[in-house]
Subunit: 579 residues, 2 copies
């Protein structure tokens, strides 16, 4: 089934009232997006104007193709970090090659996302489990915060891992620039105050809650204005405070980077990871917001929307983008009704790029670093490790592998190791099936584990439930375990396998079942099956196993017991249920 | 739990009668093993005496540590092919390096097998599914047969894939040696006749069936004697018929190859694959034979047994060995009662190496090639592809990937691609859970798919069964599917999820269940669970999901319906069952 392209379905029935609501939301998002775009350009290691470029055409592309009504697309922290890591690897210190690499990453991500959308491959993102994503986001937050210390301290720092960054900071510790640290620390404290105490304070005022919330979120804008004015007025730049400086004004020119198969090939895997991580992050934001208004997200349309947004970013000299959490929430809370808000926001950023870039000349990089640190530390959730430990050791392990991998070996290795660990743990778990001997719950036709419930067992029939689909990784182990259980039950001439938890039987498992049937027959024990599901039964009928089977296949386990040991079965069914 | 080493447990209670039986079996196996050892040395590309060396100490080591009473260890076809492929890759045409590589492969395989046995990692071999093994064995058989054509035709041929071998044969087609082809074709036809018509003929004589079978299996020995005499008498060697030539007599000297980290590192992966494939092949032979006499195989003891056999082969200048199918069956059929038969066989081969090697001077390589071709073509089972296609498309695909991979890209790539394909297909299948709406089977407390069975459904309660454990690869898809089913059932305010087929719920799936519970609640639908298994319930209790759950958890699905819609439930239970 091919993807049916629908351009901007929200445009039908668009009304002036919608435009007013979207316009207001766009104004607020634009104010928020300007410092964010500049800051994430800093994270990605590219000139400030590329941050603005990545916030113009991509928004228009998403408005045309995306399916969320309120998602706000643009540069985001995690994807910018991944961009910096990948571009750094291929550029080898050459800044021209670095910029080209970021553009190529945007184009490649765009191609991958659109291709996945057209081929309906959105499910691939499901391979990134909750634990891997959670570990990755936390680690990225820490890594981004660490990487921004250089702007806060005014020292050079290099590295893609916590280890390298720490070593680099340690070496340069003596050359910390006082005025830079002063500006940065002031911005940082103000932002933390705005997020915490100020927000609570505003919540207690008679202001409408939404407005109070928006005011608290205006913290970054105020920090930008305040520190820019301070630097300009106090000539702090001459004392070593690094500023954004001259940003070339104007709109981006459309162009494509030169094609070099080697470089594009090297960037393919990072671009794929950027696509997947960006997609997962974006689609979960989009779904959260859509659920609040009972709207639906089509994940294939999302892939196309984000893909075209990245293609648009690439051709206009930007870097990879995706749907951002904080700005989407602001957009939603400010009352955006449709992607037209994104179109208006793009217009606002374009005007900024055309006319207002000189205003950012004195904006200190330390302020941008402070806004980044405050934003990404909100992503850090070490409590998730504790919760995962409590719920499932496998999830905990996958999370820890990802977290440690990203922090100590870099984002790509970390994600790949995490996904690998999650898959390996899943296989390991399904290769060790839980098995239970069953008895009849008194007064019912229901059978449960003899070790957990007060059940009645038959002296003639052994009931076994295997809690796993049978496939190559567990086939032989299951065969041996059932055989051993059967031989250790002296006197029982029938084994009934309750198949309600068996969802597939592959060829290896079929072979094991045939062997089990033969081995039990040699030992004088008859093998029966019960509650085999339709799809599994269909498959067994395509082999000759059912002809070989020494016993019968029963519709229900109760029928099996009623046939093979009517006495016990009737007594149990008539018994009074225990409390 | 550590492995408990037991040396030769069969030695306790060993009687003279056993020794007589073992001695007879050993005599027959020795006669069979001599040409096989020489032939598989040819497949592995090493001098003939290495084949004999690989059949002396390894047999003693296995007798001490192995757990099968009748397994016959030594060089086998498939492992010899893998040895040749791996050694050829690192040697680069240097024959000294090639021989060293085969010895290193034996040592490394030995180390891996012993380590897996001590760490109880035998289950790793389960990752090689039935289909992958089957595809691998068939492809190896074809590849070995193709590689032996050079000896049958008397032309040089090179390559590790069918493609390279074919090209090489095509190039040399003009230089086929007539007398070689004559000898080879005669041996081939005789062997095929001995396997087929002669065997059927002997079966109809009054000879005891076992003796008739053994006589038919003596074909290779007769072919070796006949062609050796013919070459010696007719001086065919001077007409270009390649012979085995002078084999240095004497027993192997114990030694270790030089340690070169680079070479050992390169050989580690091939050695691991050789270990796994050899182990799987050997253990399945051992289990088949053990089952016939109600004996048991301990897979960890098998790992130690095969591992020490390979270490013994390595230190005595041999190449990787494992349990062989045909010789083990002969050993078993000839009445071997204990591994003492292997000790006697080792003695027989040692005597051969000491005194009888000159007898093989005129043995034509074409005869050995013919015995190999006849032996390995018996491994080729293309019908398995057809059966797999019929039973399961996933198994068919894994088999085809392995088969094509081995034939066209070599043994290692083929096996790795096959295992990768099998795992990917398994994940793909579990990521697409089968789901069914359920109704009550009339006259029972049992619930089945409404599309397959004549069931009674409740107008108030929607019953859904998910046929898969819930984990990251299917969590979101399942959540959306259940939500859609619930919304498309107007009027039903309760959804009961029958959890009998859910064996695990990982953290990603827990998140999805929480989200499903909220979404359904928003839509005014209550979510209940039924028949949650013990281990899953334990896990859910470690989260706060059960407090969040809008509905209840019922012990049985019947109880859920009896509580939520007593009217329909009672009516259905009292209804007469359909025929």
């Amino acid at each position: 089934m091919a993807y049916r392209l629908t351009l901007a379905p929200w445009l039908k029935g668009y009304r002036p009232g919608d435009a007013a609501a979207d316009g207001l939301a766009a104004l607020i998002v634009t104010l928020m997006l300007i410092p964010q775009s500049l800051a994430y350009a800093l994270v990605a290691g590219v000139p400030a104007q590329m941050g603005l470029y990545a916030s113009i055409l991509p928004l228009l592309a998403y408005a045309l193709f995306g399916s969320s009504r309120t998602l706000a697309v643009g540069p985001v922290a995690v994807v910018s970090l991944m961009t910096a890591a990948a571009a750094g690897q291929v550029a080898g210190g050459d800044s021209g090659a670095y910029l080209a690499a970021t553009v190529i990453l945007a184009l490649l991500s765009g191609v991958f996302l659109v291709a996945m959308g057209l081929l309906r491959l959105g499910w691939i993102a499901n391979l990134l489990s909750h634990s891997v994503i959670s570990g990755f986001i936390t680690a990225s937050g820490l890594l981004i915060a660490a990487s921004q210390l250089k702007h806060l301290l005014g020292i050079p720092m290099q590295g893609d891992t916590l280890w390298e960054l720490g070593l680099s900071a340690f070496r340069e510790a003596a050359s910390v620039n006082g005025p830079t640290l002063l500006v940065g620390a002031a911005a940082l404290l103000f932002l933390l105050w705005a997020r915490g105490p100020l927000k609570r304070l505003l919540a207690r005022t008679p202001l409408p809650p939404m407005l109070a919330d928006l005011l608290a979120k205006a913290g970054p804008v105020l920090a930008v204005i305040g520190t820019t004015v301070a630097v300009a007025a106090g000539d702090l730049q001459s004392q070593g405070v690094a500023v954004v400086g001259a940003i070339p004004g104007g709109l981006p020119a459309l162009s494509l980077p030169a094609f070099d198969a080697g470089v594009w090939g090297q960037l393919a895997l990072p671009a794929l990871l950027i696509s997947l991580i960006g997609f997962v992050e974006s689609v979960s934001v989009a779904q959260t917001l859509a659920a609040k208004r009972r709207q639906r997200i089509d994940s294939n349309a999302e892939l196309i929307g984000l893909g075209t947004a990245n293609l648009a970013s690439g051709v206009s000299g930007g870097f990879p983008v995706t749907g951002g959490f904080s700005r989407s929430v602001v957009n939603f809370d400010a009352g955006a009704r449709s992607p037209m808000a994104g179109v208006f926001t793009a217009g606002g950023i374009a005007l900024t790029a055309l006319f207002f870039t000189p205003w950012f000349y004195y904006l200190p990089k330390a302020t941008l670093a402070a806004t980044i640190i405050v934003a990404v530390l909100a992503l850090v959730d070490l409590g998730a490790l504790r919760r995962a430990w409590r719920y499932s050791k496998a999830d905990f392990t996958a999370m820890l592998v990802t977290l440690a991998g990203v922090l100590l070996a870099g984002v790509e290795i970390g994600v790949i190791a995490g996904v690998g660990a999650a898959l390996a743990l899943h296989l390991w778990r399904t290769s060790q099936p839980h098995m239970a001997e069953l008895g009849q719950m008194p007064g019912t036709e229901h059978f449960r584990n003899v070790r957990r419930h007060p059940v009645i067992t038959s002296p003639r029939v052994l009931s076994i439930r295997v809690d796993e689909s049978l496939y190559f990784a567990n086939a032989r182990r299951t065969e041996d375990a059932i055989y051993d259980m059967a031989l250790n039950c002296d006197g029982r001439r029938h084994v009934v396998l309750l198949c309600s938890a068996i969802n597939h039987i592959d060829a290896s498992a079929l072979d094991s079942l045939e062997s089990l049937n033969r081995r039990l027959l040699d030992a004088g024990v008859t093998l029966h099956l019960s509650e085999v599901k339709g799809p599994v039964m269909d498959q067994l009928k395509r082999s000759d196993f059912l002809e070989q089977l020494s016993g019968e296949v029963f519709m229900t386990h109760y029928q099996a017991l009623a046939t093979l040991d009517p006495e016990t079965s009737e007594r149990a069914a008539d018994d009074k249920p225990h409390a």
